[in-house]
Amino acid sequence: MTSPRATASIAADRAAGALFRVLLVGTVIFLLLPIVVSVFLSFDDREYLGAFPPKNFSLRWYRGFLDNPAYLDGLKNSIKLALVATLVSTAAGSTAAFVLSEARWRGRGFIEMLFLSPKFVPTVVIGFSILGFAAAINVFDPFTRLVMGHIVITIPFTVRATLASLVGMRRSLTEAAISLGAPPWRAFLDVTLPLARTGVIAGALMAFALSFDEVAVSLFLSDAFTQTLPIALVAEMRANLNLTVAAVSTVFAAVTILVVVLLDRLTGLDTVIGQGLYR
């Protein structure tokens, strides 16, 4: 026997559950739909930007990308820039992280904060300040300026990723090696370094991805002759909407899916996020 009040509360409970599910599914659709639409449009055979969905499919926009020297130049610059910036910030960032992972010493907290601080500075401020500063010290080469900007925005990520892998590592392992007679440098090379490898690689990957996609810093520091791919794409999107960008977006999306699947296979997405206290 259920009283009318209980029936009403069950109905309210059902309604709340349904609302929750609608919100959840709606959010997932909101996040996914644009990407699906642009993947479809990238295979559109029409020469102009028409209504969705396209009727005939072709690879013309992919060919269009390969035929456009501005994009290819941008791609070349972006890869070169991301490689140089990643190399420098990984080398400097992970060596610093090794020291920062050491037990407490005076000033440790302050120096760690210093290394992570570029993350909290708006990227426009970084681009703007380096542009003025580079001119003041007579650096006018756009590629040098871009490298300067990209190193500073990527270094917090390499420091943090290496630090995370070292903090999780048991210090006793290094100490065991030393107590067994290994000189400290030997213990570092044979024990600490291999264990920190995933952190260093993860940091380098993040740095590369960040640098490759950066717009704000690059827009301030590049010039008309040295463009990066994202800058060329943004310029194209602002001038005329053309489906070449859809083709590039599709390639980006494919690479992203690949990275996520790889990440899941290598470490498991659960490990990346962490399982929390109660699982």
Partner: protein, 283 residues
């Protein structure tokens, strides 16, 4: 254990980078922001002035700050409201494939190029896109100027929602599910459990997710640049146009310093609020 000398030697390259590429340029910018602007001259004039800051208080500029904050506030609130159900489901579901799919979606969106995402949004919500009818639905047709603001909000939401949701997954995972179960077994409906148990316990996480989303929104540059169609300009865009259109470095520098101070204030407030709200943190 490395000696002090070795320690500093290992820190030196990184510290040199921070000093040369962050501290020195920002210091330079601070100095420049107090120099007067001389029209037609690259760089700044000599002498000291507060004009660059004073003009920001005027209504013309204050409006940019107001717009940036207003849009950032709405988007961050939406990001937390929509991110929470997603995060709660990923944290609590017993179906592993669902959890992995949601995590994969969020991490994938985080990794995916922002330029590519903005383009996709323009294709989908723009005037030729399949969702353009949404504008007509809310009384702002896709071809109107105000629709640019709607698109900027959609773009920013797409950018910050995965971040907010990932922060909230951590929050929900660290709330003991037994507490929710206890409330339910005592007869509380699901909405009651959410309002009286889950949300109060998750408050520090909800606040920090909001603050991080807010900081990301107001310092964003690309979204209004691409989707704003010149109608919606954030303070970041203002800084850029000060430089490219009238080569006024001192004025741009002043805007940058104000943004930097605001970003710092947000980080401090966030730490303060989060520590206040953490259950058990107060005696």
């Amino acid at each position: 254990m490395p000696t002090t000398t070795l320690r500093w030697a290992l820190l030196a390259p990184g510290l040199a980078i921070i000093a040369a590429l962050l501290v020195a340029p920002i210091g330079f910018m601070v100095v420049q922001s107090f120099h007067p602007f001389v029209a037609g001259r690259v760089g700044s004039g000599s002498g000291w002035t507060l004009t660059n800051y004073a003009e920001l208080i005027g209504p013309a500029y204050a409006f940019y700050f107001y717009d940036t904050f207003r849009i950032g506030f709405i988007v961050s609130a939406l990001a937390v409201a929509l991110g929470a159900p997603l995060a709660w489901t990923a944290a609590r579901t017993r179906r592993r494939p669902l959890r992995v799919a949601l995590l994969g979606l969020l991490i994938g969106l985080l990794f995916m190029s922002l330029v590519a995402k903005l383009y996709a949004i323009q294709m989908t919500w723009g005037s030729t896109g399949p969702l353009a009818f949404f504008g007509t639905l809310i009384g702002i047709p896709a071809r109107s100027a105000q629709y640019a603001e709607v698109q900027v909000m959609i773009g920013l939401l797409h950018f910050v929602l995965p971040v907010a949701a990932l922060i909230l997954i951590g929050t929900f995972q660290n709330i003991n599910p037994r507490l929710e179960e206890a409330a339910a077994s005592l007869g509380a409906e699901r909405a009651r459990v959410a309002l009286d148990v889950t949300i109060p316990l998750a408050l520090p996480g909800l606040v920090s997710a909001f603050m991080i989303a807010f900081a990301m929104c107001i310092s964003n540059f690309v979204v209004p640049l691409v989707l704003g169609r010149g109608v919606v300009l954030f303070t970041t865009n203002l800084m850029y146009t000060r430089l490219t259109e009238i080569a006024n470095y001192p004025s741009g520098a002043a805007i940058g310093i104000v943004m930097l101070v605001l970003a710092g204030a947000i980080v401090c407030t966030m730490t303060l609020i989060a520590s206040r709200l953490t259950p058990g943190a107060r005696p």
